[in-house]
Subunit: 192 residues, 4 copies
């Protein structure tokens, strides 16, 4: 009815609500897994369920948005690391960060794994950016002889995904996580 404000970016309070929902959803999903109820998320965010649905048409869409969010940050990280550090360090640092996130956030590892598979609209669009960054880091690290030559992106993702789960399993026990990661890193290092 009111064609004055069609594609304006989003009213200030609306943007604030969107962010609050996203934060709440992230922590509720992390705590309860994917089966968390929308009402719980709404309550945590301090809004009504309707507000969630205004911003995200579907529970899946909300979840996807979280993933996209993470991927954006990780892709940013990847770019920054690529610029700031030497190739091997950059690669393993990103790997470590992702694993650390998984340790902190239940339900991080699974969607990560899916990112390489899914063709779901936005997820993969942004996922591609992350994957591309990861691949760049991998190739640079291989050229710098920090990572063995005979692995490609798919294997790295598989191992990364696995490591995230391993970290999730290790939970609060830092030393187990560290040693498990050490095994994987040794396995990724060039032979000899």
């Amino acid at each position: 009815m009111d064609e004055t404000k069609r594609n304006r970016p989003l009213r200030a309070d609306a943007r604030r609500n969107r962010a609050r929902v996203l934060d709440a959803a992230e922590s509720v999903f992390a705590a309860d897994g994917l089966s968390a109820a929308m009402e719980d998320i709404a309550r945590t965010a301090g809004v009504g369920v309707g507000t969630i649905y205004r911003h995200f048409p579907t529970k899946d869409a909300l979840f996807e948005a979280i993933i996209v969010n993470r991927y954006e940050r990780l892709a940013d990280d990847a770019d920054a690391l690529s610029a700031a550090k030497d190739p091997g360090e950059a690669f393993f640092e990103l790997f470590t960060r992702m694993v650390d996130q998984a340790a902190a956030q239940k339900a991080f590892a699974d969607p990560l794994a899916q990112a390489g598979v899914d063709i779901k609209a936005s997820t993969s669009a942004i996922g591609q950016r992350l994957l591309a960054a990861l691949e760049r880091l991998l190739i640079q690290a291989q050229q710098a002889r920090a990572v063995r030559d005979d692995v490609g992106l798919p294997e790295v993702i598989a191992v990364l995904s696995g490591s995230c789960h391993a970290a999730e399993y290790a939970g609060r026990d830092h030393s187990v996580r560290a040693r498990a990661l050490a095994i994987v890193f040794d396995g990724l290092a060039p032979p000899r």
Copy 2:
């Protein structure tokens, strides 16, 4: 009043149905994840829901029975391997089998991870047997210099759990799975 047959193992048809339910549940859970509906399982098994509940008082109990089943077989495998092969081979062969199972069966990896944590009655009783067998294999493999000395059971479980997820991610792509596993195995090998 008929004390001849008190603790009879289970009538023939009942045993057959129990097995059918277990099979059906395994494949339906594998396909749909833990949120699969009991009715689907019943339909797949070709029985009524009531039959499932006669054998397993609860959805959780059914799931647990599947896990226990798997663990039993794996523990048996572990014992057999330990007797038949040289230590290093035995260890890596068991590791590989578990990962292969995970690749085939969604929802195998997660409960595996929990086995090291949970204290839930029967699950852990049998889980302990598997873990004990795994530890035995690990120690023997270490003594045979097939596995590096500085890892303990917790790390191995973490890495194993992670590898299962990696395999789940890799899905049907055998070569990715093989290469990912190779990375982990290299990481587990003794240095040099």
Copy 3:
């Protein structure tokens, strides 16, 4: 197939089972109410559910059989009392016995009330005998000036049914039950 034994009364063990089921049902219904499960009754009786269904085609039929059983005994009581005691005593004694039964057995009062209403086959057949006996006692008591003249059988049944519930409510508290019953008896006594 075997027409040798068509209408023979019932094999000895069958008769014994029937009685056991009836006993078990009586106590389980008393404890859990009408919603008690058939399996519980079977277990209590030490038989399989199938055996219950051999003797009673339906849960309702089983319940009815219990009621019929009680009514038979009460009708017998009524006859005996009528012969042995003076009319007033006989009437109030029967009344008291019924109320005592109700106090002991949950779910006794309700079906009693229905006996006056229901036309359900056997129940009412035997119920009629009890009601007839009750009416005889009532009339005799009225003739002996032990009960007021202006009440008929329906009122007596209503009050009796109510008293059974009152007794059920009073539960273990004997003195409350006694005083409640005293009120009713006073009300039934002839005026003055």
Copy 4:
């Protein structure tokens, strides 16, 4: 963030639905007993089952709400009668009203009986109020020589509960109900 309306009583439509549910539940319970299905209640109320559960978390809670409702009205009645009529009349009038309700509503008598026993939260809170009012009426009636001296509240409740059941039994037959009640009232009157 909008602190204007925190503990709002209930939106207009919500209140209307709550009342409809309560009404529907009352009549469905009255017709079918406590085992009535929630769906039936929902259909009768013209709402979805979910709506019932929004207002009452449990079938028991719904039932309790009905009882509480009745008790509130009866306690109000008791207070009004106590103020408006002479003690004896007030007592017997309340008694009669409760019995009339029971005649109309199956499943009214039983919970009444429990009110004297149960300690269940809200039920008994309001139940206490009713019982207190009843006791007040009783004592006043006794002081006015309208009720015999040797009965206490427990007996009165027992008899009242019993009378409710008697009325339930009598059903539509007004004259039976009236005469049955007359018996009880005579029993409650002071001797001679």
